[in-house]
Amino acid sequence: MKDPKNLEIEVAKLVSEILDEPISPEASRLTVAGWDSLKHMEIIFAFEEAYGVRLDEAEMAALSSVKGLAKRAMKQA
């Protein structure tokens, strides 16, 4: 099982690549202006592909932070 902190760093890197800006493990839609509704869906689909996760609709809308995504990836592992 991956270390949660490392996973957060990994997810932050994935988000960073999509938003094209540095992203910390503390980041969320509330703190990053560029994490808009369109970018959010790009992040969600990239996350699913990277971690072999299939999110339901509620999760797609609700998982809006690096920590939340990392926690969900951990659940899948």
């Binding site: 202006a33 369109l38 339901d56």
Partner: protein, 198 residues
């Protein structure tokens, strides 16, 4: 104005707003976290119905409810208004999406299709409170052109706010639409796959 336009997409449709939506409008516009960038409205349903009376008389104003194609659950609002026949331009706005809704991209694709394909407009534009960075970012991400800032365009509860103007011309939309429609399709397929009864 009273209109009959229904624009249907993969998971959502835009349909004309009606009196029965008054409560929904008040609830959505008053939602915490959403109201800081919106002109305040009365919490009274009767007042909203009076606003509708004026709206129904106003030509060139198309107000839509964003709802699910399956189940007809209402998830947002969007409008096209201030249509200028002289220059073929109109403003789009009154755009509010429920916090848990995935309708943002599809609702905009449907409204742009309505503006350019049904209304045959040459250009649509929007004004967004400059402080509303998430919505301005969405416009940027869509590829709409950020034209500039209009100082002191909004006065919301005594707070004077600047506005960012974005524009999208007909040829811009032709170039932007394929990518946005593809994203919208991917989302709608996921929503429909998970929909009850599917």
């Amino acid at each position: 104005m009273r209109h009959q336009h229904v624009i249907t997409g993969g998971a959502f449709r835009l349909r004309p707003i009606a009196e029965r939506d008054a409560e929904f409008v008040v609830a959505l516009r008053s939602m915490s976290g959403r109201s800081q960038y919106l002109n305040p409205i009365s919490p009274s349903i009767d007042d909203q119905l009076k606003w509708f009376e004026d709206y129904f008389k106003r030509e060139g104003d198309y107000y839509f409810v964003i709802e699910r194609t399956v189940g007809e659950c209402r998830e947002g609002l969007i409008s096209l208004y201030d249509i200028s026949p002289q220059d073929g331009a109109a403003e789009w706005g009154r755009w509010i999406i429920a916090p848990t809704s995935l309708s943002a991209i599809e609702s905009v694709v449907l409204l742009m299709d309505f503006a350019f394909e049904k209304m045959h407009l040459q250009k649509v534009y929007s004004y967004t409170v400059a402080e509303n960075t998430a919505t301005n970012s969405f416009h940027d991400s869509c590829g709409f052109r950020r034209i500039g800032v209009q100082m002191a365009r909004f006065n919301i509860e005594g707070r004077v706010m600047d506005a960012v103007r974005h524009e999208c011309g007909m040829s811009d939309w032709a170039a932007l639409r394929p990518a946005l429609a593809a994203k919208s399709l991917k989302i709608s397929q996921r929503i429909n796959r998970n929909a009850p009864g599917r």
